[in-house]
């Protein structure tokens, strides 16, 4: 299977199953489109009819292009068959019984009252609560005990607002560091915060201990303050921006993400990205809102062409700024064509419910943070482990071939079947397909690959 598209002045051909990427001229672009459907004679006839009158195109040239396509096919770089499906289950089974990442819901409470919050203002449709040190410690012990031979273990401090329980966060990190040597594990901590409680102590901690911090900012002040308000209804933009700037400046090059959410109120989210850049942030992420259909924040079909155009303009802006010596990164456009994920990862996906789980303040285990509060998805707890094996089996069976729609999608080995939570909320099944998200994902991948091609060509000039 191949995917062809034109973007940013490039004609791009992706060979889906080998992962090969080609840039071609118009003649080869058209010839590749015809190649599998017609005989050689017919392909040459059609191409000659279209391009033969151009003085620089000879009959030998056209025949040579055909031979080049044939050679690439023989090398397994074009029209390569999908040979992975029979081994998909076996590949995913490699992770069976191994947990390597936990999302610790350190606080089911929040000091902001954002109406678009998928976690219902941090409460996850339940009671307000904070995680005790004892529960957190047991979660870390559970992670170590179930991590098999994995060396790198990931722990995200999440909420609600995790800094509302900051002392426990600090104590848990100190505990984890104290057991790293004896357990032979390395913990990578991340912190996701709305920023209100950032102070010098938090900055020092985050920059010393966290491999990444995720900072929530939606961009333009009026856009941010539309949803990200306190319980009195006051916007938070003016309070958090100086704190974020101080934290990032002190970070000294360590990773962070300025992470925004765009909604029906700002499908033109590139304007928000530009505000983030103007504020001095250059590691950016901007995510489509997760909202039920009919929610005023939810993206609509009318928003779709606007959003896809914004993605294209964002790629163009990245290229322009890189050439001006002012580069920035966008989370979904970070693609390393030579050092990216292996086929195992591409088939297995995010690992929710298997390698990755969320832990509530009470120590309950869920397949991921987005399922917390959905009682039927409760997997077990951190003392007794997973006992709801039927739900875990559903997640274990989630691979890129589990969804009929994915089998014919060119982006399947870039997306791996997508987000189980999005699928569940859109269709009622974790093995469903959230088609709106698919459309956005495919556009993002086209943009990401184009921007990477441009980067490589610029480097070689």
């Amino acid at each position: 299977m191949i995917h062809q598209y034109k973007l940013g002045g490039y004609n791009i051909v992706l060979d889906v199953c080998s992962g090969s990427v080609h840039t071609v001229d118009d003649l080869a672009y058209d010839m590749i489109a015809l190649y599998e459907q017609h005989t050689k004679e017919e392909v040459l006839r059609q191409i000659t009819e279209k391009y033969g009158s151009q003085p620089e195109i000879t009959a030998e040239d056209i025949a040579g292009c055909y031979d080049d396509i044939t050679a690439l096919k023989e090398q397994g770089k074009l029209f390569s068959p999908d040979t992975f499906e029979p081994i998909a289950g076996t590949l995913k089974q490699k992770t069976a019984g191994v947990v390597k990442a936990l999302c610790l819901h350190i606080a089911h409470t929040c000091n902001l009252n954002c109406s678009y919050c998928f976690a219902s203002q941090g409460k996850y449709h339940g009671d307000r609560a904070v995680m005790s040190f004892e529960v957190g410690k047991q979660a870390l012990d559970f992670l170590v005990a179930n991590s098999g031979t994995r060396h790198n273990l990931e722990v995200d401090f999440f909420g609600g607002e995790p800094l509302m329980n900051f002392q426990v966060v600090k104590d848990l990190v100190a505990y984890a560091r104290s057991i790293e040597q004896e357990s032979g594990k390395h913990f990578r901590f991340t912190l996701t915060t709305n920023g209100l409680l950032i102070d010098d102590d938090v900055i020092d901690f985050a920059n010393r201990e966290c491999s990444n911090v995720v900072l929530s900012l939606d961009g333009r002040k009026e856009i941010h303050d539309r949803y990200r308000v306190d319980y009195a209804g006051n916007g938070s933009w003016e309070k958090i921006v100086p704190k974020f700037q101080k934290l990032v400046e002190a970070r000294g090059g360590k990773n962070y993400y300025m992470r925004g959410t765009f909604t029906h109120a700002n499908p033109d989210f590139l304007e928000d990205i530009k505000v983030m850049l103007d504020l001095g942030f250059n590691e950016l992420s901007m995510e489509p809102v997760v909202a039920a259909e009919g929610d005023p924040a939810a993206l609509t079909e009318d928003d779709l062409p606007i959003v896809t155009e914004q993605y294209e303009k964002l790629a163009a802006l990245m290229i322009q700024r890189r050439k001006e010596g002012k580069p920035f990164t966008f989370y979904h456009y970070m693609i390393d064509l030579t050092g990216g994920p292996c086929i195992y990862k591409r088939i297995s996906g995010c690992g929710s419910g298997t390698e990755y789980m969320a832990v509530t303040p009470w120590g309950d285990l869920y397949p991921c943070h987005q399922f917390v509060g959905e009682e039927k998805f409760r997997l077990g707890d951190i003392w007794k482990g997973v006992n709801n094996t039927s739900v875990q089996d559903d997640f274990m069976a989630c691979n890129v071939y589990a969804r009929e729609e994915c089998r014919t999608c060119w982006a399947r080995l870039y997306c791996s079947g997508g987000c189980a939570a999005n699928a569940y909320h859109a269709t009622g099944s974790v093995r469903g397909v959230y088609e709106y998200g698919c459309k956005l994902f495919r556009k993002r991948m086209e943009c990401a690959i184009m921007a990477e091609i441009d980067r490589q060509f610029s480097k070689s000039e």
Binding site: H22, L72, N152, E287, S352, Y414
Partner: protein, 51 residues
């Protein structure tokens, strides 16, 4: 090839032979939390890094 330029990429077919060490980052653990894919993840296999 006059009409086609092939970009250097990782061969997915080759990675089927030695992939799956599992050390790479869990996709949703970094920035998105809501709309993950896997294409932007880095391979952390020591074997791959040596190649």
């Amino acid at each position: 090839m006059r009409h086609i330029q092939t970009i250097k990429t990782r061969s997915l077919c080759e990675s089927a032979k030695n992939g799956g060490c599992g050390e790479c980052q869990t996709s949703c653990q970094s920035a998105c939390k809501t709309s993950c894919g896997i294409a932007n993840q880095q391979c952390e296999s020591k074997q791959q890094k040596k190649q």
